[in-house]
Subunit: 273 residues, 2 copies
């Protein structure tokens, strides 16, 4: 399945403008044969927008999810996007709710507009995220898409080998990782992501923001890594749409060569839990 | 602590010759200020030596351990070396014992000749190792050395993130990994080892064999990786002695910047065990 990585910071603070950026990129991705486009973390609203996070948060089945579903349907490809999620049943923008029940989430919507999976970031990074988000409690969220088992994760989550291993044990073939990876942590894009793909024998699509935003400087370098540890697509530092294939044949052959999941000895790993 | 990585295949099949190679290298390492020298996997006897593995195997306190202790004492530095270990109490070279109780081990001996720690490889690789070795059952083996907590692991072990994480949780500062890493798996030396150092916030010394031996072609590329993911020392493909420092000050600063161990959520990792 050809997978498009939309490396862009969009227009922080404007859902309307970010939906336009997604729409335009989805058109280009579909024209290039992509079956899926993935955005960075918090693409819908922007990341470094302070209290606007709570103000702009929506439930997983909110108006913006409908708008993304319309984009997916019109271009005929699936969309995975990052956004601030307000728990269903709570009023939007109510000051009493601010910060208390907003999750840093990623949702996968199919080419026919179905909401396939919604993931809430489990490993929050630094003071900014702990101030604005509640951590999720479900480590593995998956859906079937075009013959691949697709998993969802967000940014800091992927730096913990335990998280990606849990996906591998649950059969994830292609792990989607919207991210907001900042200077000086480019080692994660350059090295950690390909190693995660290799040690777990899966594809990993790591899709980053770019440029300065608030107190942060995002480093781009979005990467689609294959299970042999090769970066099949890698963006530079600027706004960019890059594409590469997640190939089930290569995946199966690589798993034969690298039997990590068979050679594990779970009985020795008790100290990890 | 300055650490010397002895990248060499020695003389497969000859313990006497390999002790000479170790002796000479230990002299050079000590002259360069090293407090520790590390050999590749199975350095004492050679790796691809078939049934000679069982014939040459010795207990952890056998004659060769005494010879290594003498080298360590004479040059005034610790030695970590790989060797085939026969379980104590079994006769050496007895055909009835062949393969049944031989471990692929690494032992650490201090500069005063004390046997500090002995580790038996827990994750055996491929048919050759399963034919010749019994796997060990103790995942974390450590010792205190010159103010650092030093851990032992062997080759394929380090490719499992669970193993290195267990060391991190047990406080390992410097992980010694004698290895016999073969073509086409150089990705492990180049990328996996620095990522292990980074994600676990420790130093990792990965010390490889080199050149052709039996059916194998070893790739060299021995690496001392620091907790910021940088390869502080990296050998080429041939015989080589490389040195770099494991610096407790850098280690402490890096752990402040990268609080992976504090940010883990063990309650979410239950599927791993």
């Amino acid at each position: 399945m050809r997978t498009a990585l939309l490396q862009s910071s969009g227009r922080p603070g404007s859902i309307v403008e970010n939906l336009k950026v997604l729409d335009e990129a989805a058109g280009r991705a579909a024209a290039a044969g992509a079956g899926l486009i993935v955005t960075p973390e918090m693409f819908l609203t922007g990341y470094a927008i302070g209290d606007d996070i709570a103000r702009l948060a929506e439930p997983a089945d909110g108006d913006s999810a409908d708008a993304v579903a319309e984009i997916a349907t019109r271009h005929g490809l699936a969309v995975a996007y990052g956004y601030p999620e307000r728990e269903a049943g709570h009023g939007e923008g109510s000051p009493a709710d601010a910060g208390a029940d907003v999750f840093n989430s990623a949702q996968l919507i199919s080419a026919d507009g179905t909401r396939l999976a919604n993931y809430r970031k489990t490993h929050l990074f630094g003071c900014f995220e702990h101030d604005h988000f509640t951590p999720g409690d479900q480590p593995v969220v998956q859906a079937e898409l075009n013959g691949l088992r697709v998993g969802l994760m967000i940014c800091y989550d992927v730096e913990f080998p335990e998280n990606v291993r849990a996906h591998a044990l649950a059969g994830t073939d292609l792990l989607l990782v919207p991210t907001a990876q900042m200077h000086p942590f480019q080692f994660v894009a350059e090295s950690v992501v390909p190693v995660r793909a290799f040690e777990n024998q899966m594809y990993v699509a790591y899709v980053n923001r770019t440029g300065p935003e608030g107190e942060f400087e995002f480093v781009g370098l979005s990467t689609l890594a294959s299970p042999d540890g090769i970066a099949r697509a890698r963006a530079g530092r600027g706004e960019e749409l890059v594409l590469a294939d997640a190939d089930p044949v290569l995946l199966a052959a690589s798993r034969e060569t690298n039997p990590y999941l068979k050679d594990r000895r779970p009985g020795l790993y008790g100290s990890l839990v």
